[in-house]
Point group: C2
Chain length 199, copies 2
């Protein structure tokens, strides 16, 4: 099963000029970095067949999309380590073409819609995480699955509706509690791992 | 249900003289901080009835135990924010008595055994997370449950055996994959949330 996560970060800055000593002040870049860690790392190795797109919508040049995949090298699973690669990526990505800044890290000037459209065209089923969706535990998944989630502010409602209308996205719920974005990613992985027989 | 986590960190330093700009270099203090975040935060609020004990076993004065609970104030859910409170805590804790450094943060010169003994005396069931344990999904839990887990190095085998022998600890498994410590905490919470009807 191939897994993609799309994190929509409404405030994360789109300039490389942010301080690694104040990631919260860069539009909660700490949260973005923790989501990347949750998406890609197991203990002592990277998850194969997984990628995470971070859609940064903060000033000064939104949107920017940065994607991390397991081909990456010299990236360490801590907030500062991941954020330093986001900073490098943000020096590029001036237009819609993906630019590689590390074997597994690419950047482009792409919106959430444009990234989800790419995933749909690659054959991914699109899901949106939402407390009011269908329970994830009873859902049947195909071979390529993509999950769109918001940061601490959440996905704008009209964005959610547009994803459903345009790309057939379905809402899935992890339960009644509102988890941290990074925890949502961990739980989705866990539910999919169970289905793949890792229990 | 009351929940406690006990993270055994074999290398995390026991001096306040570490740099917030290099948490991995402080014996993987980044990992410790992420575990605290996973244990205590939901989106926009702290979990009630939950605490996490970080047992730091690195140089120069091991062991030190720092416990975080939801009474804490002015603690922000990012690695640097949590680590800065660990640094403050490490200025204290010279003996076995708990010392408060924030309404919800205490420190003492206590070992893993001593913390687990306290929890057992408070009526907590003790569990150890281990790939080869019984599946967590079919376990029945009581009202007070404590989970002991290792960092990236893991729990020493003789420590595990001692916890079982002395405190009746039972091994539980989250599946065949070896997850990050912070992910283990998220998954345990998720499994307990399901049982408490948050699905």
């Amino acid at each position: 099963m191939e897994r993609a996560f799309v994190l929509y970060s409404r405030k994360a800055v789109t300039t490389p000029k942010f301080s690694l000593n104040d990631l919260p002040g860069a539009g909660r870049m700490d949260l973005v970095a923790r989501c990347v860690i949750s998406a890609l790392w197991l203990s002592h190795r990277l998850r194969e067949d997984t990628r995470i797109y971070c859609i940064l919508e903060g000033p000064p040049e939104p949107p920017k999309a940065v994607v991390f995949s397991p081909e990456m090298r010299r990236v360490y699973p801590n907030e500062r380590g991941v954020a330093s690669w986001i900073r490098i990526a943000l020096k590029e990505g001036r237009n819609e073409e993906w630019v590689s800044v590390n074997p597994g890290i690419r950047v482009a000037k792409k919106s959430l819609n444009s990234v989800v459209e790419e995933l749909r065209d690659e054959g991914f089923e699109i899901y949106v995480l939402h407390e009011k969706g269908d329970p994830i535990s009873s859902n049947e998944f195909g071979e390529r699955v993509a999950f769109v989630l918001g940061d601490h502010i959440g996905l704008p409602e009209n964005t959610e509706r547009a994803l459903m209308r345009k790309y057939g996205a379905r809402a899935l719920s992890l339960g009644k509690l509102s988890y941290l974005s990074s925890a949502c990613i961990t739980i989705v992985h866990y539910e999919l791992d169970k289905r793949e027989g890792f229990m």
